[in-house]
Symmetry: C2
Subunit: 561 residues, 2 copies
């Protein structure tokens, strides 16, 4: 990387990459003079204004330029925002992947879909320790909304670093281990040089309730609901799937699963032993047939209002196997991710139109979902146990990082050790000092279908313009030898309402173009065609703006004859 010197002996460089303002959730680089590890390699979903973009992945150029130092990917857990970029990065950035069996299972599935069959995957679990030369990594268990989640402690020349990953402190977790407070305390006694801790819910006071309360709430619903119960949740909420299966057993119901990722995750969870279920108790949706309503539970995807999901299709009456009806109870076992509120509301309205009962946190059933991240009192507990001399809040929008930073300050983390980083900030840490030494480019890399990085800001800008007002096309034929326009001007448009409606605009735009092209016949040599096209483009734009106050894109094309 031009301008950025090598890491000094004894120092550790920390670089968060990617993240749509969610610093370091998708990728964190830890680098010494000799070695480098990457913690997580996830993707993000685009916001509404990133037209046609399917995913965003971190810009890994920094890692690519130092690929000879890369010793491995350390994966905290199997959520897409922590593993989803691997299939795009591995082809250029081969390195072993360390993670829990579940995380590796989910990674393997995605890699296989992408035709990557040669990944080197190494299982990690509680107490696993891996030696990467100047860095040693230890995995310690944390509770989160997916089983088999881990925090990672890194022993480095600059001291001990604790990277929490996503976590909450759940004293009665379901399936997963408790967040290992003993281990965090031991690190604290040893001396933590740097704590990088999850800030997702740093704006929430108090503590996050245990996953166990969800099991109780759902079990109660299954016992009392008069007809079918349809439960929408994240496919990766494997503990919740188990709780639903257990509750179904208790209430004599059978669970039917629908939604591609739900079916796939259940299949894998059964295979790997994460979910234990009698095959008569947990069945594919195609077996629903004429099952009795009061004996039926359906679990499905779509709790975020995703338009093509199983729940959305049920809500709009287009699901192949499930036709909702009065007497059904639909449970949204989730809360909307910021930005998804309108889609969730829309789904709820559609559900009410079908005459079903809708149960959600918003409708006062607060325990049908709990968050997967720590609230303020839990965050304080971790800071207290580890007592770090430097602190970097990670995994949150900027406001969460600031609020988490204030918590740390209030607990005695020294000001000079507190760093609110942006993606691309390069933090250098020694035993005694910590400082942001540079900022490297950390733009989003857009993925559109199979296309990684081809969609850039200019393309997005064009798409925005096309979305707002459509386009006008001016086509002309040009004599290849004389360079003179020959024949007439052809005008058409798409997505531009005014021209669609008004013939006079089409005629007017053609006349403007004709006037420009015929004005100086001597100048219409081929070499100046680019200039002429630009002139046509500008004058037609001006004409259309004056006539309609709209600004469609104007495209001019010349066919040589």
């Amino acid at each position: 990387m031009a301008g950025l010197s090598d890491v000094a002996e004894g120092a550790l460089r920390v670089v968060p990459l990617g993240g749509l303002g969610e610093i370091g959730r998708n990728m964190m680089v830890y680098e010494t003079a000799e070695d480098m590890v990457v913690v997580d390699a996830g993707l993000l979903f685009p916001s509404d204004d990133m037209h046609g973009v399917d995913y965003i992945i971190p810009d890994a150029s920094y890692v690519l330029e130092r690929r000879d130092k890369l010793r491995g990917y350390l994966i905290t857990h199997g959520h897409e925002d922590h593993i989803g970029a691997l299939r795009f990065l591995l082809p250029q950035l081969q390195a072993p992947i360390y993670g829990s069996p579940l995380a590796l299972g989910l990674i393997g599935w995605r890699l296989e879909e992408s035709g990557i069959l040669d990944a080197h995957m190494i299982e990690a679990g509680t107490g696993s320790s891996f030696d990467f030369g100047t860095i040693t990594a230890e995995f310690y268990p944390v509770a989160h909304s997916i089983p088999d989640a881990f925090g990672i402690a890194l022993r480095t020349p600059a001291g001990l670093v604790v990277h929490t990953g996503d976590f909450k402190i759940d004293h009665t977790p379901v399936m997963s281990e408790q967040t290992d407070l003993q281990q965090l305390a031991a690190y604290g006694r040893e001396g933590v040089r740097l704590l990088c801790s999850d800030s997702t819910y740093a704006d929430q006071p108090g503590v996050t309730p245990s996953e166990a309360v969800v099991g109780e709430a759902l079990a109660q619903l299954l016992l009392t609901a008069p007809g079918r119960v349809i439960i929408a949740t994240f496919a990766s909420q494997i503990a919740r799937i188990q709780q639903i299966v257990d509750a179904a057993e208790e209430s004599g119901r059978v669970v039917y699963a629908t939604g591609r990722s739900m079916e796939k995750n259940i299949e894998m969870s059964l295979e790997l032993g994460y979910v234990a279920a009698d095959e008569r108790r947990l069945r594919p949706i195609t077996d629903l047939g004429s099952a009795h309503d009061e004996n039926t539970v359906i679990i499905c995807t779509g709790a975020q209002g995703e338009p093509m999901s199983a729940l959305s299709r049920m809500a709009t009456g287009s699901h192949r196997e499930v036709t909702l009806k009065s007497g059904d109870t639909v449970v949204l076992s989730s809360s909307p991710i910021p930005g998804n509120e309108a889609a969730v509301n829309n789904t709820m309205n559609n559900l009410y139109r079908r005459g079903v009962e809708v149960v959600s946190v918003a409708s006062g059933h607060e325990h049908v979902h709990v968050r997967g991240h720590a609230a303020q009192e839990e965050l304080k507990t971790v800071i207290s146990l580890t007592n770090p001399s430097a602190f970097v809040p990670i995994h949150g929008e900027f406001r969460h990082l600031v609020l988490h930073g204030r918590l740390a300050q209030s607990m005695g983390v020294p000001d000079e050790g507190l760093h609110i980083l942006l993606d691309g900030d390069v933090l250098e840490l020694t035993a005694n000092d910590s400082e942001v030494v540079d900022q490297i480019p950390a733009e989003y890399v857009y993925v559109d279908g199979e296309n990684v990085g081809g969609v850039d800001r200019a393309i997005i800008r064009d798409r925005q313009k096309l979305a707002d007002d459509g386009f006008i096309l001016i086509a002309v034929a040009v004599n290849g030898e004389s360079g003179a326009m020959t024949g007439d001007v052809e005008v058409t448009s798409r997505g531009f309402a005014e021209m669609h409606a008004a013939e006079h605009l089409r005629v007017g735009a053609a006349q403007v173009a004709r006037d420009v092209l015929r004005s100086k016949p001597n100048a219409t040599k081929l070499t100046t065609w680019e200039k002429r096209k630009r002139q046509v483009q500008q004058e037609v734009s001006t004409y259309v703006r004056r006539e309609t106050r709209q600004r469609p894109m104007v495209v001019v094309v010349a066919v040589q004859v």
Copy 2:
């Protein structure tokens, strides 16, 4: 209207129009055999997938076809979602406008901007009664988030109708009158045939706090904040503006206003006497100059994260007069309207980046904003006082209507009198009966700039396609006489990333087009050109989809030479 008979003598027809799922918020038609009034004529803001659409207004064809019966527009209050369509409707649907001085002031301003100077406006106030032949309308005061808001009682041949408009029951309102419970009780004693009541927060238990608590909370903030206080709220929250001015007086601060609609609303409120302020106390932002921080309050637009608003500009450092800095306190005196959450979060992140303190309901300062609509216990009070024999929940998304309907049922409104209407449903009411007799078209009418109704679903669909993947353009020249292609095929693209990047795709697409056009030279007569173009379009689409898995729009144009 084809197929729909005239209203029978003694009957009343009730038709909600427009609304983005918010039944009747924007327009309700009340029609007898002889006369018709329209309650409110508002606009809505589009959702993200309505590309390039600025507003949505109700489809008023039903009213237009009965324009000779239209006696007037009855306006409940001056919010855009109740008045904003008048400027688009009046040119075709002239009728007197009845409303409070503030509502008429706001209407007049908008009409003037649109060059409509001949509107006939008639002031209404508490106890105003207007005779429209078979319909008499009475205005009774309600508390809402804008002063001078009214409910409307209609005496009709079918009986007494109470239309609440937007309201809450605020026993200590600021500036506005209390919702007139005595009057509602009197209507109840007289006998209410139909209650149409505001459902916006029918999912909220309990009661909505009084606007008065906001004044106290803001006054406390102005007394204790160390530096400048910037308060973002709706420009129409005129009571809040007054409360801020009063609090500023108390704490020795001066109020500076910024944001176009904020400045305009303040100007009008001062003029009409709604806001009382010494001119040294309430000043334009251009006077900010070197005012002392601890003596400064700034009120501004942008509480919903609107990208071009005063607050957004401050948050991104592009506001002309206000540069935010550490020590400033920014108050979001509002809560996000569903769909705006991501924009508000974005603004908050930007504010934190400027080092300011951010105060909002979400940050635990629950009283810096209160809602403007009734919660469940208030809704029950209105049902109890009016004791209607028929009930139509209005102003809410479908789930709110259903929940409000259940409240009414629980209070004894008979099942046969409860009607959950969709926009366009035609409810007919007599003294003894009520029934949905038809559904008329009530599509959204899209407004794009000055263009009303020109943007339709097909245009939006084209824009969506262009936004997702851009387009490819295939241009050819055709001999006008022989109909044969002459010269070469020209290929270009916009917003389509793959072709932008890969020359081979452009070459390939040109070859596909050439092959089609040269395949059967005998068939290239002009009459068959449409067919040929469609064939080129299809084959190029197939080729591109195969090569890239993307589906850009493919446009083929032929220039005659």
